[in-house]
Amino acid sequence: MNPQYDQLYQALTKVVGYIYPNEIELNWSILIVLYPYITGLVAGAFILASLERVFNVNALKPTYVIALLTSFAFLLVATMPLIFHLGQPFRAWEIMITPHLTSAMAIFGFVYIWYLMVVLVLEIWFDYRRDLVIWSNESKGVKKWLYKILTLGVYDISPEAVKWDEKLGYIVTVIGIPSAFLLHGYVGFIFGSIKANPWWSTVMMPIIFLFSAMVSGIALVMVIYIVINYIRKQKIDMLCLDTIAKYLFYIIIIDFTMESLDQIHRFYEAGESFEIISLLMSGKLFFTLLIMQIFIGMLIPLLALGFLQFYKPNEKLRRMIYLVTGILVLIGIFFMRWNVVIGGQLFSKSFLGFTSFKLSLIGTEGFLMASIWLVVPFLILAALLWLFPPWKKSPSEH
């Protein structure tokens, strides 16, 4: 038989109950899961950096630049899953050239550019400007020229000029905080505003996305900080790590509360879509929602970090717990995005049936493609850390 029909027959065996014809296959697959995941890491990492800069949490100083560079590396890749999902990469720029002001998605390009160019690039530039001038004098070859270009021809590193860098960098960070909220709240808004889908359509969505973004971004910087120090064989600043973990703990509590509130509201309201959604949660999403997102990604980290707030074992054990907790949180938030994006497409709009989703290994929407876009930001980060090593920076005032 024609393979096309084999596929259809296979797909139909996975349909439960009644669904509409266009609901058998999911339109949004793992690449659309990655998009809010990566954007969330960007916003979260930036907010950790701003804790140090704006809210004067001095203990976080060792991770300030790492958090900024992480945010930057992930932001460069944030749109790639979308562009590859669309399959028409050369049309992507048209949303900038002929912007459609009534489409939330179409304005994302501008929100993204604002965040990239006006917030992150500027903040990193102001923070590195003095070092770029010094490095452009000390280095040789291509690196020297790269640093020279990046100074934009401004070589003034007098104390006054550096003070200006501080001041301007601070202003950019202050603008950056609402921008980071905008960037990720926006991603939540795109899902939350889809009124036809009861799994998505809630005003809580931007807030839930925002807090889960902070959770994942802070966990990512924590893991990266531990790994970098391990690779460089440097002693970790435990006060810094404890402080990151403390903030991670607080934000997980807020995130957990928000998500629980959303679900409790759904349960109590028990609207017409409730039956299908409760079947979805206890059936198709049992593993990814209850086990991976809530148990592995939230309850275990919450207990582990909560325990460490009251009892502090030796440094080695604490480091290990932080590393494992950070990774668990990152996995948990990935599954949170998965449950939103994939879960929202598994049930029929008729509320009478389910389709199913199986992730393929290869292909443009496959596991390997997704892995590439998760690995690339780490490679970019490695390159950035090599080009602009935070440990070689001259100490800053903030």
Binding site: N2, V15, L168, G353
Partner: protein, 145 residues
Amino acid sequence: MPSQLKRLLVLGVIIISLFLLLKHLATPVSFGQYGHYRGNSLNEIAALPVKYVGSKTCVKCHDSIVALKLEGLHSDIQCENCHGPAYLHIKTPKKDKLFRPDSREFCAKCHSFNKARPEKAVTQQDIKNHHPEKKCITCHNPHQP
């Protein structure tokens, strides 16, 4: 004003100007003429050749088959739904023959079991197990199934 801020402002103006220039150059001339799309596209699409000729044209030569079809369950289906566009065939009928589907897969496009398809509207059959060794058209005349 500090020198780095001056330099950034100049760079910012250059980047924004370049963007505006690119926007000006890359926006199609007729964009926005009627709505949020290229106005000229309407005429361009209208100028494309019409490829489907309609059953009224088919009946001029194939009147007996059209009459047979009108009595059966496929009476609402247009000839070209199964046989494909006939714009070349009506000009050079000997040279450009139409598609004559005879595979099980072709019939299955509409008649395979599909939970999402209303059973009352379309007869559905288990294509895998319903006489798998035979072609559908051996027993069913597609013009009067």
